[in-house]
């Protein structure tokens, strides 16, 4: 399984700001290696962020998202001490879920 994500979730006013840094190659499938063979595409396709069992953001990504993807957004509500959970699935079927306590 891939390396863990770095997640930061902070309450600001009446919403919670979530910042995520994921660890992933995000290979485009356009590049070639030293022998001229195409490096197969390998990238995160789906990202889901849930809070309290409810999805607060879901995304579909293509290979054009940068390596080690970064994502920041805000959702209404969210209490200190509660957890946000983030899951990604890549095109090889690998997946990873991490969670962070809201501060």
């Amino acid at each position: 399984m891939a390396d863990p994500m770095k997640i930061r979730a902070n309450v600001s006013g009446d919403s919670t700001e979530v910042k995520v840094l994921m660890n992933h190659e995000m290979e485009t499938g356009q590049r070639k290696d030293a022998n001229g063979a195409t490096i197969p595409a390998w990238f995160i396709q789906n990202v889901t962020v849930t809070y309290g069992g409810k999805t607060v953001l879901s995304a579909q990504w293509g290979p054009a998202v940068a390596k080690n993807p970064f994502l920041a957004f805000k959702f209404k509500g969210g209490a200190k001490g509660e957890k946000v959970q983030i899951t990604w699935v890549d095109n090889k079927g690998d997946k990873r879920t991490d969670e962070a306590v809201i501060a």
């Binding site: 290696d33 953001l57 054009a64 940068a66 805000k74």
Partner: protein, 157 residues
């Protein structure tokens, strides 16, 4: 015997197991994720095709979509920060497209009610190009564009 289930049980209790279950999509299948990936949309090569693949018609230009913390000139095309805010009511999704990439569509974000229609991420750009923010609100599509100059491409080898 269901070996997958055995393995999950063996892996342990508490939080670890809950995350595993959630990851496997067994926990509240409705909420956990409706995992779909719009293959057709991600393979399109023009704005019109992409919008069509996402189920819409020609998008209207909108001044209510703004870019934030997005550079005019990106030194490194492999990592270009893009921030998009939509002030259009009932924004349902925000997509980011890069005109001159091999496939235009970079990402689609579904915004459920309660989440701010504003987010930032980082994309790759092969060369200087227009970047489009495509917003779906109340069933209609809107767009805004911004030109970003890239001094070092992100898709070379």
């Amino acid at each position: 015997m269901n070996t997958a289930r055995r393995q999950v049980l063996k892996t342990g209790g508490g939080v670890t197991m809950l995350t595993l279950l959630a990851a496997a999509g067994w926990l509240k299948p409705g909420d956990a994720q409706a995992q779909t990936w719009n293959k057709v949309a991600f393979e399109t090569k023009s704005l019109d095709e992409t919008v069509k693949a996402m189920g819409g018609a020609a998008p209207a230009q909108s001044k209510d979509i703004t870019f934030f913390s997005t550079p005019d000139i990106a030194e490194n095309g492999a990592v270009v920060p893009i921030g998009v805010t939509s002030a259009i009511p009932k924004t349902e999704s925000i997509a980011i497209l890069v005109e001159k990439n091999p496939n235009m569509l970079a990402a689609i974000f579904e915004i459920p009610p309660g989440t701010d229609p504003s987010l930032s991420t980082r994309v790759k750009m092969g060369q200087s190009s227009n970047v489009y923010a495509l917003v779906k609100a109340d069933g209609k599509f809107y767009m805004a564009s911004k030109e970003i100059k890239v001094t070092l491409g992100g898709c070379g080898g």
